[in-house]
């Protein structure tokens, strides 16, 4: 790995040595203030009990954590599941990203879009669909049992968690790696080829190392997300992991012991540790290349055989990862689906049931999640830039605080926001700020800021600072440089950040359930929850789930088209 291609050692630039402009100082302060107001203060107000004993401050609860066999076990299980999921998710995502970015492959836009859909697992409906497909008595196992007389425990224990998590979160790697691959200049590849590198050598020595920031960003996100994920262990009823242990303590009525918050604090520390480790993996290496405008790697023709193999692989993977969504769709048009490979009958009645309610739920979801994604991209992009391009004191700290949000349980943030902002009244209406719809946007944005931040960081790591210096030398101001050089060149990374934020926010439940005060303000996730509390609501709930998936898919597709057009405008004709 010592042969990492570096065009030039970064020269100490003027801008860097001078520190930062006033505008940059203000930007960092604004981000810090945002985090202080909507992350630190609310969270601290909730988790302070983790450090409180009868006589004030204490660390005794942390001692209790490590003294409990169950919790030690949960800790190691969470780490094991996190690491193994990264491995399995990589097996899915790396080939997909390679095929998409390196070869001319028809339907790439479609695959990019479908590649995001696994992130959208509507609450409850997703769980039911997963069980109906992969469960002990799901469609696949019923078929296996019929034909061969055995079952495969897809959804049993820790391995089940790894299986489901990998299917669910591999898009983090796919999106970030694709963005990174798209940023590699074809000149790099051509030089290597001229020097005789081909095939696997080319990939392992040139392409993959150059795309490493994107891969590491994605893999680190997968690790922390899985480490902190609650939905999947609950779906599989695996309780001996940290997130479910914390959740069960925090959300059980009448439980007053602080262990739930202690576990939350430990999860935040571990997630930051995971992120720091990822940063260490990239440290001391330079991924930046100066050449720009090549529009990424040359897309090669695969030839008929290659095309067929790639197509088979892509279709198989998509079938696997989209099966829960196929299940949700079937559920939404099923009369009854119980202990059977397929539903008993089909109907459109569930769509008729939700027809009238769906419109406000959809528009609320698009509005909230769109705004949250936008906030994330702006804050994440700015922060990534400030961290990598300035020497402002405290920038690393702000970055770490922002990253810590990934480990904050939605419920803890929800309680904190409610506690901090319920008594702050809005002007004119007198409505509490905490239950004003914009607070949902903020809750979504805060918890998903890490996605946009790491995507932007990865993109920026590939961009050589000399490009900006060149622009400035040619007389462009900082703002012009940012506008004309930096943002267009990292737009792929920003897009990946937006899409992940948007998609995951669309199905966020725990904070939603706490902060929605009026049904007209509710997003889709709330609508799904309301239906999925009764047997008769399963079909309508699934129909809303399908709508959530479609909304995210359409938004992703549009975003991807925009980015492709940008890219197309820049790309130079290669053949």
């Amino acid at each position: 790995m010592s042969s990492l291609p570096t065009i030039a050692a970064p020269p100490p630039s003027l801008a860097v040595r001078l520190g930062a402009s006033p505008a940059q100082v203000v930007a960092l302060a604004a981000i810090a203030l945002f985090l202080l107001a909507f992350l630190i203060i609310p969270i601290v107000r909730v988790i302070v009990v983790a450090f409180t004993g009868p006589d004030g401050f204490t660390l005794v609860h942390f001692g209790d954590f490590f003294a409990t066999g169950l919790l030690r076990e949960a800790f190691w299980n969470s780490i094991y599941v996190g690491v193994m999921t990264v491995v399995v998710a990589s097996l899915i995502a790396v080939p997909l990203a390679t095929i998409l970015s390196r070869f001319r492959f028809r339907g790439a836009a479609l695959i990019h879009t479908l590649g995001v859909v696994p992130l959208v697992m509507p609450p409850f409906v997703g769980a039911v669909a997963m069980q109906l497909i992969y469960g002990r008595n799901g469609a696949i196992n019923l078929l296996l049992l019929d034909w061969f007389g055995f079952r495969i425990p897809f959804m049993d224990g820790l391995n089940g968690v790894i299986f489901v998590e990998a299917l669910h979160y591999f898009p983090f790697i796919l999106l970030n790696l694709s963005a990174s691959l798209a940023n590699i200049d074809s000149a790099m590849e051509e030089s290597a080829q001229n020097l005789g590198a081909h095939g696997f050598t080319l990939f392992s020595r040139i392409v993959f190392p150059l795309a490493l920031p994107g891969y590491v960003a994605g893999a680190a996100l997968v690790f922390v997300k899985v480490f902190d994920d609650l939905a999947t262990p609950l779906l599989l009823n695996v309780t001996n992991m940290l997130a479910p242990q914390a959740y069960l303590k925090i959300t059980s009525v009448g439980i007053t012991d602080p262990m739930g918050y202690v576990i939350s604090v430990i999860m935040i520390i571990c997630s930051l540790g995971g992120m720091a480790l990822a940063g260490l993996a990239l440290k001391g290496r330079d991924f930046a290349t100066q050449q720009r405008g090549g529009g990424g790697l040359a897309r090669r023709s695969l030839g008929p055989a290659g095309n067929a193999i790639a197509a088979v692989f892509v279709v198989l993977v998509l079938l696997l990862v989209l099966s829960p969504h196929i299940g949700i769709f079937l559920l939404s048009i099923a009369t009854v689906w119980s202990f059977a490979v397929l539903p008993d009958g089909y109907t459109l009645a569930h769509y008729a049931t939700i027809f009238r309610e769906a419109a406000p739920l959809i528009s609320n979801t698009v509005l909230y999640c769109g705004l949250a994604g936008l906030i994330d991209v702006i804050l994440g992009g700015m922060l990534a830039y400030l961290v990598l391009r300035t020497r402002l004191p405290g920038r690393r700290l702000v970055e770490q605080v922002a990253m810590s949000a990934v480990a904050v349980p939605g419920l803890v943030l929800g309680i904190g926001l409610l506690r901090t902002y319920y008594d702050v009244k809005l002007p004119f209406t007198g409505e509490p700020l905490a239950t004003f719809w914009f607070m949902l946007v903020i809750a979504y944005a805060v918890r998903r800021l890490p996605y946009a931040l790491s995507a932007a960081t990865a993109a920026l790591q590939q961009l050589h600072v000399s490009l900006e210096e060149a622009a400035e030398n040619l007389g462009a101001g900082k703002l012009t440089t940012l506008n004309r050089i930096v943002v267009p060149l990292i737009v792929g990374g920003l897009l990946a950040g937006f899409v992940t934020s948007f998609a995951t926010a669309a199905v966020e439940l725990s904070a939603t359930l706490l902060l929605v005060a009026r049904a007209p303000d509710a997003p889709l996730a709330y609508g799904i929850y309301v239906y999925m509390q009764s047997a008769a609501g399963r079909g309508p709930g699934a129909a809303l789930g399908v709508i959530a998936v479609v909304v995210v898919a359409v938004a992703t597709y549009l975003a991807y088209r925009v980015a492709e057009r940008e890219r197309g405008l820049k790309a130079r004709e290669l053949l």
Partner: protein
């Protein structure tokens, strides 16, 4: 535009208020805000019927799960919603303890004082029962047929080895109604025998769900075949077309579902009107809707029920035989929740393995095991059915205090985490030993 509309409405209201008779001015406010964990199928018909009766009052329903509902009410005490409407008796107890509910004596007459062995209303008057439900066994008929299983009829059937891995329940710490059922078993059978029963059924459990609806949901899908559920989950699933049946065992518990007015409710009159509506003949009638299927608390409503509808006031099976001591229950409420989770929920795999070994050994030992094998088996069964704390300890203030909010000056015997660590370790040890003993018994045949 909404602002103009609001202004106009305000003006109109002022004019009406000025012109109106005092009686009209005292009518309910223009809205009532209800926090509920009930499903749409239940809340929608009630909201619609209420609005029809009180055209000037809009019902605003906030659907939250029980935990989120309690948290929301706790955090919004400066200007709270008006009503809490849910099943979980523990949620109401917590709200009451935190002084977040207000006393209200319903005016409605003809409401039963007791259903089964539980009082319908909170004895202190902070919340009111509006319906009742019984616990029973729900099963997926397709699943049972495919697995060649007979439908279980009694609680004790669920201990049988044939049902291993086919049964589900929700955790008492996550479902106040399951808690009441567990407590009833413990009081009815006694501490040691009761836990023996629970742990033996535990040996057959496929899952301990973290939410009440998780159990019927899984039975509906056929994820597992049998669920210990509250009646309306089973009955309404059947009404929705799922291939499921529901049966009350000979002895079952009846638990109330409640509504309470939140302290400092902004729409006091409307909230009271809603409570009265729930208890009125009209409101109670709505409970009979096949998608709701709850048992009314107004005695006269039973005159109009369809044939076969359970009647806890006539049918002696439903709860009447169970004696329930509310004081005992309250004192150890949090402790029982924690204990159940330590010895069953979080150690389900180990518990399953222990009982599987015992059942395997029993089957292979046959009718005439050796004296040594009999002795070893008795030991194994005892260990796999034992909890690491006695009944006396479970009601000891010093110990129960560790599971409640620590008040200044109150001394507990330890921290909750310390007890939990010890119980967890004991459970793991007991189940491993029980398994080893059963295996030894098999060798000593």
């Amino acid at each position: 535009m909404t602002a103009t509309l609001a202004c106009a409405r305000l003006l109109a209201a002022a004019v009406i208020a000025f012109a109106a008779t005092p009686a009209l001015a005292q009518g309910p406010e223009d809205k009532v805000v209800i926090v509920t964990s009930f499903s749409k199928e239940l809340t929608d018909p009630f909201a619609q019927a209420f609005q029809k009766k009180h055209p000037g009052t809009r019902v605003e329903v906030q659907n939250r799960n029980t935990a989120a509902a309690v948290t929301f009410i706790r955090e919004t005490r400066s200007s709270p919603p008006d009503l809490m409407w849910a099943s979980a008796p523990d949620a109401f107890e917590v709200l009451k303890k935190d002084k977040l509910l207000q006393k209200y004596q319903p005016k409605a007459q003809g409401i039963a004082a007791k259903v089964g062995s539980y009082p319908v209303n909170d004895p202190d008057g902070f919340f009111v029962g509006f319906a009742a439900s019984g616990y029973g066994i729900m099963y997926n008929t397709r699943y049972l047929r495919a697995n060649n299983l007979p439908p279980p009829k009694e609680w004790d059937d669920l201990k049988k080895p044939i049902y291993a891995g086919h049964v589900g329940i929700s955790a008492p710490s996550r479902s106040g109604t399951t808690h009441l059922t567990v407590e009833t078993i413990l009081q009815g059978e006694g501490w040691d025998k009761g836990w023996g029963t629970l742990l033996e059924i535990g040996g057959n459990l496929a899952q301990v769900s973290d939410r009440s609806f998780g159990v019927p949901d899984a039975v509906n899908s056929g994820q597992y075949g049998i669920g210990i559920v509250i009646d309306f989950f089973g009955l309404s699933a059947k009404a929705s077309g799922f291939p499921v049946e529901f049966a009350y065992p000979t002895i079952t518990t009846i638990v109330p579902a409640n509504i309470g007015i939140i302290a400092n409710a902004r729409n006091q009159k409307a909230a009271e009107a809603f409570v009265e509506f729930l208890l009125s003949e009209e409101g109670q009638q709505i409970l009979l809707d096949p998608k709701i299927q709850r048992l009314p608390v107004r005695l006269t409503t039973y005159e109009k029920v369809p044939p076969g509808y359970p009647n806890p006031f006539k049918d002696a099976r439903l709860g009447a035989r169970v004696i329930f001591n509310a004081d005992v229950s309250e004192a150890r409420y949090e402790l029982i929740n924690s204990l159940f989770d330590r010895v069953i929920t979080f150690r389900l795999k180990e518990l399953n393995a222990a009982w599987k070994a015992i059942h395997d050994a029993e089957a292979k030992l046959g009718a005439r095991p050796s004296a040594e094998a009999t002795r070893l088996m008795a030991q194994a069964i005892k260990l796999a059915g034992a909890v690491p704390i006695t009944e006396k300890e479970a009601s000891d203030r010093a110990i129960t205090g560790a599971f409640q909010e620590i008040k200044a000056g109150q001394k507990a015997a330890g921290r909750q985490a310390e007890f939990e660590a010890a119980w967890d370790a004991a459970a793991v040890k007991n189940y491993a030993e029980a398994k080893a003993l059963a295996e030894r018994a098999l060798a000593a045949r």
